[in-house]
Each structure stands twice: as structure tokens, then as C-alpha cells.
Amino acid sequence: MVNPVLLIAVPLGLAFMVPLIDSASRKLTRFVPVAALLFNLILCIRLIPAVLENPIVINLGGFTPPFGINLFVGPLGLLFAGLISLAGLVVSIYSLSYIKNGPVVKYHMLYMLLLTGATGVVLTGDLFNLFVFFEILCISSYALVAYHGDRAGIESSIKYLIQGTVGSGLLLIGIGFIYGIFGTLNMADIAMKIATVEQSTLFVPMILMVAGLGVESAIFPLNAWLPDAHSSAPSSISAILSGIAIEVGLYAVARIVFTVFGISDIYLFFAFLGILTLLIGEMCAFAQSNIKRMLAYSSIGQIGLILFALALATNNTVTGGLFQLVNHTFSKGLLFLSAGYMIYRSGSMEISSLNGMGKRMPLTSLAFTVGAFSLVGLPPFAGFPGKFLIVSGALLKGEMVINILVGLVLLSTVIEGTYFFRVIQALYFKDGNGEQRKQAPATAVTAMIALMILIVALGVYPKFLADFLSSASSDLLDKMSYVGSVLK
């Protein structure tokens, strides 16, 4: 059997090795992230059968939990790890040619460490370890947002850094409280002991931790940094930040709310918060004229939708939410990647400057269209089954409040469709200045085609993923089996 700790150890080792590789051959460093993520992807695929049978619990250093740190590789963790390595691999291929200027070696190292941090967050079973990996994720994204070193990048990076650091401070205070109350940091151990304490004592630590993680996962009202950061980062990084970083933040929130605390009284609150985030995100996206800001606000909306789906806490909705999450990673990645080259060609981020792109860059425009359709939820793309599962699952609950919320979800889908249609109209039905057609470089095209194939394949054969997702959703919701498999 392969050991899941390699998912973290090998990329870390390779990242530490990059300076040595760099002094041997400068060309080689660009391919280190590709190699590491390919390795991770293969490892994840090999782990699937074993994990579907039983979650794998790895005790690091050979100390049994709660005394040592453990990794918990259940279907949910593996889903995220696989998603991170797949999306990361595609984007790293894209950035081979996209990132040409600036400290390229440092870019690739930071990129790889960002994904390693994300993998650590989704696999760890220890609260403080989660914090540490979260910091790796955050710090590398602060630096990558400012990668171009331009005014907007620096400014948004500072905004992001200040809010993110206050957030991690709150998270750390929350962890301190939890340690003070329970005397342990192991998530399963805390989950087991949670019933022995009065719920009112847990309220403040939980709010602190959710607020701290909420900054990174862009839950309203903690998402002021996101539109700036995502729009001024290099497009490959925007794809990863939107597709991976905020979703990993959402994973951490869900893990803490569902598995560690598991207080079901507050789930409805999170559903409301999700809908609020969704509506605000979509409405702001509608008002944008800058394409990357539009995509960034749309990410906020999608996160809200996923949060709503997770907060309903039934097997159907959580499966749908996770499906939507997978879809969001791929389609938002595709949107940012294609927008990246369109912006590169037109030299401006304004939607109006993209007029007639459909003729100048046919494949890139097609990629953008596929991503947009999938995100809106049109069949036969991957967005449809996700939204369908969420809506039908929510209606099954049969509560009046939730039915109203579902109505709002549909309304937001209409808004989303409208603004994406506006862009597609500009791409195909408006005449731009008659430039020669010129495609994006081969590596970028490969990455976009790979994502398009994934989106269509998931849309046509949703069952392929849905079965895995449904065991992932029971992994998230079934607290007792989590505790049982860690603390045998």
C-alpha cells in the first residue's frame, strides 16, 4: 500500500530541492511542479480503492492519536487531494508558457508550496496542524498575488495579507480556547469530548475559528479582499485561488462545523449566510465591467452556493454541493485560464475590449464559453448535475424557509446566466478590430482542452463521480465513524 503522507512529503522535498536543481539547470525547474503534481495525482488514483473501503488513518511519527498528529484520508480528503493535484497539474502546464517574466523559479516554488499547503489542510486530523498548513497556503498566496509587482497587485496583496493575518490570529485564539477547554488538539478527540461541555462555552471558540477560516474561504462579510486579489493576480494564480484556495478554506470550515463541533442548531444560520454570499457575489459580478473582477465575484457567489448546499446537511445536498465544488474548480479554472490569454492579447481587462475574440482566438473563446455554460449549470456540462442535486435535495427537505432559499438560488442562476451571456455575446457577436487570428501557445491550449474534456465528461457521465461524492458526503456528515476510525 502507498502511504498518503507522500502526498505532502514529496512535493515539500522537491520544493526544498529546487534551488539545487536550479543551480544545475535553469530549464528544469519549470517542470518540477508538473512532476510533483503528476506524482500526487497518480498516488491519489491508486489510493481510491483502499479509501472507499475504509478511511486510511496515518499516525505520524508512530504516536497514536491524540498524542501524535494523524492524517485522515477519507473519501472527502482524497477528493480534495485529487482535485488539488489535477487542477494544479493542468494549471502548472498552462503556466509553463504563461509565466515568462519576473522571478520564474520563485513562482514555481511558491506555486508548488501553495498546493502542498492545501493538500496538508485537507488531509490533516489535527487542529494546530491545520493552522500551520493553512498558513503555508495563505502566505504563498499573498506572495503570488503580488507576483507581477504592479500597483494593483501590491495593493491587493497587502489588503489580503492584513485581513488574512487577522483571520489566522482569530483562528489561533480559537484553537487556544479549544485546547484550554478540552486539553487536546486532535479533531477526533475533540469531537468525542464535545458533548461533555456545555454548548454555550463552545460558542465563542467556534465563532472565532469560523471567522478566521471564513476570511480565506470568502464567506460574507469577510470577503472584501477577494475581488482585488483574484483580479490582480496572474491569471494562472487566479485560477488556483478561485478553484482551490477558497474551496480548501470552505473544507476547513465544514470540517470544523460538522465534524469537530457538530452542533446542528446553527446549520440553518450557515445556509442563510451561504445564500447571502451567493446573492451578493452574483449581484456584484453583474455590475462589473472588468472581466477578472467579474469572475472573482462569481467565485464568491459559487462559494455561497456550495456553503448553502453543505449547510443543509443531507446526503443529497452535500453530494450536490461537492459536485458543484468540483465543477467550480474546473470551470472557474478554465474561465480564468482562457481569460488570461484573451487579456494578454487584447491588453485590457475590460469586457468591451474582448469584442470579436471569437474570431481571433476561436479555441480560447470556446473554452471560455464551455466554462461559462458549465458554471451557469446548463446541460450537458458538469454544472448541471451539481445544481440539480442541490436544488432537488433542498426541495426534498420540504421546509418553507428552505424552499424560499431555493427560489433565491434559482434567481441567482438567472443573474449569473445574464452576465456570462453578455461576455459571450461580446466574444462572438460583436465586431472587434480586425486583427489576425493567433492562438494561445500549445501548453496553454493543452491545459484548456484537458479542462474542457473533464467538464464535458463529468456532465455526460455524472454517475462516475457522484458515487464517490456520496461516500465523501457521508464522510463529512458521519461524525461517529470519523471518531471511531481515528481513535480505534
Binding site: 522535498g13 498558513e135 502566505i139 504563498s140 506572495a143 504592479d150 465563542v204 465563532i207
Partner: protein, 231 residues
């Protein structure tokens, strides 16, 4: 307006904190995990400094992450300062040379501080201190040289290679544990030796030395980047 809002936020936060703190009385909380570490830390890891046995033994994975955080920050700082530096012409500012007393003092103290730093991280499993503290002491020795002997610079390649190799030592030690030591990442596969001697506690001194060198070279690199920027 904004400050009133901030004050209200802080008051609410403070009230919540006071409420929760009332269930954690000061000075009497004792955790099962902590007691276990104190009772069996020496037997499990061979280190007499229990904090070290927690940092590099029980929670070594955290420490790997932490070393990575510093690594990320050092690279990120380099990337941010390097971006956009290319298209600026370098203006060489003249440093006023330091006085003879400062210069001589720095040159005299530098090896001693370096030695102290090395002592701190080599004895991390026996006495207070360890890789982070020792690394910081080493970095402060270099900082002092930068301030006192203005012209002297460390070699960046040298620092980068130290950083990279010591990071690798950490990971490879962990992977060796995975391969030979009962199939656990970062397990202590070396003999624990006699308590309270320098060569004891298995992999702990190795890891702490690697951390010390890594932290030292990284912090020195950070300072070097910043000073170069400010010239």
C-alpha cells in the same frame, strides 16, 4: 464612524472572551495530552527537554510545516522585492563606514555568537532552546556583521544551498523513518541512547541541527534581501 464600529466589535469580542475564559481557570488546567508527554516523553523520544520532544518528536510534522512557512515567506519576500527591480537602475548609496570600535567589536563577537547559536540548537534536546532559537541567534550574528562591517556580504548561493540541503535533510530523515522505522513518517528510527547525553534522542538532534541551519540561513537571507533593497 469606523472607529466607533471597531470599538463595538472589540467590546463584543472582549465580552465573549471573558465569558469563555471563565470556564478555563488560570493555573489549574492540566491536559491529558500534556501529562502523557511529561510522563512518557523521556521514554518515547529520549529527550529531557519535553518541549523539544513535543516539537521534534510528537508534533514533528507541525515543525516541518513551520519550517516550510518560513521558507515560503523567504521565497515570497525575494519574489516581491525582485519583481519590478529589473527595470530600475541600481543606485549605489555610499554607506558611511562604521567606527573602528564597532568594526573590531563585531569581528570579535561574530564567531562567538555563531558558536552560541550552534550550541543552542545542538543542545536543544537537553537544555532550553533549539533550532529556531539557535537559528535566530545565528541570523542576528550576521545582522550584526551587516551593521558593523558594512561592506561584508554573505554569499547568496551558499546560503541558498544550506537552506535547501538542510530542508532536504529534514524530509529525507522523515522518509527514512517511513522506510525503516516501523513504517511511520518521521518516526524515531535511531537508538535513543543514554538520557541527558549529547548523542541521545535518536533523530531529534539531527532534525534540530537541520532546522537551526535552515532557519539561520533563511532569516539571514531575508535580512540580506531587505538590506540590498534599501541600498
Amino acid at each position: 464612524m469606523k472607529s466607533v464600529f471597531s470599538l463595538i466589535l472589540l467590546v463584543v469580542l472582549g465580552a465573549g472572551v471573558v465569558f469563555t475564559l471563565s470556564s478555563i481557570p488560570f493555573g489549574s488546567t492540566s491536559s491529558d495530552v500534556g501529562e502523557y508527554y511529561i510522563d512518557s516523553g523521556r521514554a518515547d523520544t529520549g529527550a529531557t527537554n519535553i518541549v523539544t520532544s513535543v516539537v521534534v518528536g510528537y508534533r514533528a510534522f507541525d515543525t516541518l510545516g513551520e519550517v516550510t512557512v518560513l521558507f515560503v515567506a523567504a521565497i515570497g519576500l525575494g519574489a516581491i522585492l525582485a519583481a519590478g527591480r529589473e527595470n530600475e537602475e541600481k543606485k549605489k548609496a555610499e554607506w558611511e563606514p562604521a567606527s573602528l570600535v564597532l568594526y573590531t567589536g563585531c569581528r570579535f563577537l561574530f564567531p562567538l555568537i555563531l558558536l552560541f547559536g550552534a550550541y543552542v540548537f545542538i543542545h536543544g534536546h537537553l537544555t532550553p532552546g533549539g533550532g529556531f532559537q539557535g537559528g535566530a541567534v545565528i541570523a542576528s550574528a550576521f545582522l550584526m556583521v551587516y551593521l558593523g562591517c558594512r561592506k561584508k556580504r554573505i554569499s547568496r548561493t551558499w546560503a541558498r544551498n544550506t537552506e535547501s540541503i538542510s530542508g532536504l535533510v529534514f524530509v529525507v530523515t522523515g522518509l527514512t523513518g517511513l522506510a525503516v522505522g516501523g513504517h511511520y513518517f518521521l518516526s524515531n528510527f535511531l537508538p535513543e541512547g543514554t538520557l541527558n547525553t549529547l548523542f541521545s534522542a535518536g533523530i531529534i538532534p539531527i532534525i534540530y541541527i537541520a532546522i537551526g541551519l535552515k532557519v539561520g540561513s533563511e532569516l539571514t537571507g531575508v535580512i540580506d534581501d531587505l538590506i540590498e533593497e534599501s541600498e
